[in-house]
Point group: C2
Chain length 406, copies 2
């Protein structure tokens, strides 16, 4: 064995020699850097570039307006920071303000080309866009919920269920709370739905949902629960690169997204979970929520199955888009007044509605709330700053979850 020991430990230190081979390495520039005063510095090495900017949801917003179907709508676009080139070809920008604790995403624009930060390996995919992640946690701030702490962690599983509707197996993400494997207890179940073009990964990457659950449960602010993240694009098996269509470019123009098929098929997901996990398989122990398209799905799954869910959360719900009119399963969008009456007659524990004050969907959500108000139906409402963005959806989830299964 002595023969084997002739190399020095230097092999491990000097690994850059093998950079080409093992893909060690990465960028030499440090970015982003959270400075002691709370400002954040971004750097990008591009000696030949003419203009480099950074854009992300930590920047002050610009208010934008546009018209759709004759209706005035508006949204907030993130502002842009101009990087200045240093002598070494490294461009740099430091925010002129302390960045508040939050989880943000950002990209650079280099001579007009949008790109992630090559010095930052924390990347999120949302549909077909990659963005770099900036996480600024702080004890006591809400963003502390998005950080990993040394608390008991639940398990997060990618699981395939047979969909009779789709005719193939489909992928779910399932969170089982810490202690699930070694206990014999039965647990309540929360179903969490993503937006259009997203998938069963979205809530656990951009949404930090499993960290939120771990932390709320550890603090005693939420009951231990099973959480199921579905894929709401019924024509898909799973997230990109995880389905048999292989190398397809993710796209938003998926068939069968908001025309009733997914909503109609939803009980098959519930049946699979109830038969494969130790669940409390009853209405009072079941909740559902979703963002944007998932909020739309949540509403119609709830109304068409009034005995299934006791808690429903609509986060920036994409209601009022007109997609119901050309639906394959038109019946689930019909007689809404009757379905609302039947649903509320059964006294559900919670209908929760959250939306940003500059979300382009706020008017249709206001219309829906007016309808509820006129009928005297109870619901809980939260309005936050900002628009149709993940920051808000993380907030809504962390507000909704503590209210469940009391």
């Amino acid at each position: 064995m002595k023969k084997m020991l002739i190399f020095a430990a230097a092999l491990l230190m000097g690994a850059s020699a093998f950079a080409q081979q093992a893909l060690f390495g990465g960028s030499q520039v440090e970015s982003p850097v959270i400075n002691a005063d709370g400002t954040v510095t971004f750097r990008y090495r591009a000696p030949k570039a003419v203009r480099v900017t950074v854009s992300g949801d930590f920047m002050p917003v610009q208010h934008m307006e546009f018209e759709m179907n004759g209706r005035k709508m508006s949204y907030d676009a993130p502002g842009v920071g101009e990087l200045k080139e240093g002598a070494d070809g490294v461009w740099e920008y430091t925010t002129p303000f302390a960045v508040a604790p939050e989880m943000y995403t950002y990209t650079f624009s280099v001579d007009g080309l949008q790109t992630i930060d090559p010095a930052n390996v924390f990347v999120n995919r949302d549909i077909a866009s990659l963005t770099s992640v900036l996480l600024v946690p702080q004890e006591g701030a809400r963003s502390d919920l998005y950080a990993i702490h040394r608390v008991p962690h639940g398990s997060v599983s990618k699981v395939w269920y047979p969909s009779a509707t789709a005719g193939f197996d489909r992928r779910l993400t399932v969170y089982t709370p810490a202690g699930y494997e070694s206990s014999r207890e039965k647990y309540p179940v929360l179903y969490v739905l993503h937006g259009i073009g997203g998938d069963e990964d979205a809530w656990v990457t951009q949404g930090r949902a499993t960290q939120i659950l771990d932390n709320l449960i550890a603090r005693g602010q939420a009951r231990p629960m099973i959480v199921v993240f579905t894929n709401g694009n019924i024509s898909q098996e799973a997230a990109p690169l995880e389905n048999s269509t292989g190398y397809d470019r993710p796209t938003m123009s998926l068939p069968q997204t908001m025309e009733g098929t997914f909503e109609t098929s939803f009980p098959e997901v519930v049946k699979f979970i109830d038969s494969h996990y130790r669940t409390l398989a009853r209405k009072q122990s079941r909740a559902i929520c979703g963002l944007s398209m998932g909020g739309f799905h949540t509403l119609y799954i709830t109304l068409n199955n009034p005995d299934l869910f006791n808690y429903s959360g609509m986060f920036s719900a994409a209601i009022g888009t007109g997609s119901e009119q050309t639906a394959a399963h038109k019946e689930i969008y019909e007689d809404i007044d009757g379905k609302l009456a039947a649903y509320f007659a059964k006294k559900p524990a919670l209908l929760w509605i959250g939306i940003g004050s500059s979300d382009f969907l706020i008017q249709s959500n206001n219309d829906f709330r007016s309808k509820l108000d006129a009928a005297g139906y109870p619901y809980t409402y939260m309005e936050t700053d900002g628009g149709h963005i993940w920051r808000n959806w993380r907030i809504y989830l962390s507000e909704f979850v503590p209210l469940l299964f009391k």
Copy 2:
């Protein structure tokens, strides 16, 4: 409800209007494109750039030599393709050859800055490097094992186990084969270890291990088994952004990687798996394998626990680096001749060794094989083209797994 239906479905079609808000969009350039003749075209939009190149492991290699500790070593670096700028500022390169079916990674270099392909959302992280993924599957080719097929899929879970050695909970990836949840059967277990700087995600992203397992099992070429992917950096809780140190930049210079602590602690992982899953908890139903540092770990975990594993696989094992000499747990690297004798006296079912002919570790692996040969110890050996790269490790796993638990 009619009021809600005033928007057209155009909202969903015309989503580009909300690009700023919901991070829809992405690059307008199509890249990479696998052409009908098997060549691949890469595109990058950079009107102001001076030079754009693409580099990846599909390119013909350049043979590189260097010396380490007076010993001549060599490796193969991927060649580089020069993109040409079109009138529209879009740079383009088409390989002058058909790209063989395989899973590759590549990056662009734009005026010297290494970056991923902004038009390709399939990204792998390896330590601190991001690379874009090019998957060229073909029926009958080995790379078809790396694609998702409509076969029964196992579940893939991120699970935390309490490590008494580390003093905190640590994250594992656990694959349970299709049917596990609904059966009452007990299963054999394979432990799969990553290389230095990698983590519990590496084998399921770059390694495509769960696809390989699903496909081999579906073809009847492997027994259904539980597969456990550990994190071999005992000082870490989990992969980057999944541990309580938060926003740390991943680095290769981790403490406690090849000095005995992980190897010594390994039985606590086996104990956790045997107590939380339906395993066949006996030597004849247990296997272990690993790449590079994980091959090193595999060797010493096997030799120091001769009653634990019946099958051991060393993939491009980082043996002979000298790290053993300064180890915290020196004892596990001592008396190797005696330990080899004791191990082989118990007639293990398989010691499997695989390495690339231009791997910088081939000499130390040859030395180790000479030692085995001299003592007449049986082992299976596979030598492939190429160096210390993931392509080889996927091949070794897909060769090793069918030999297990016969």
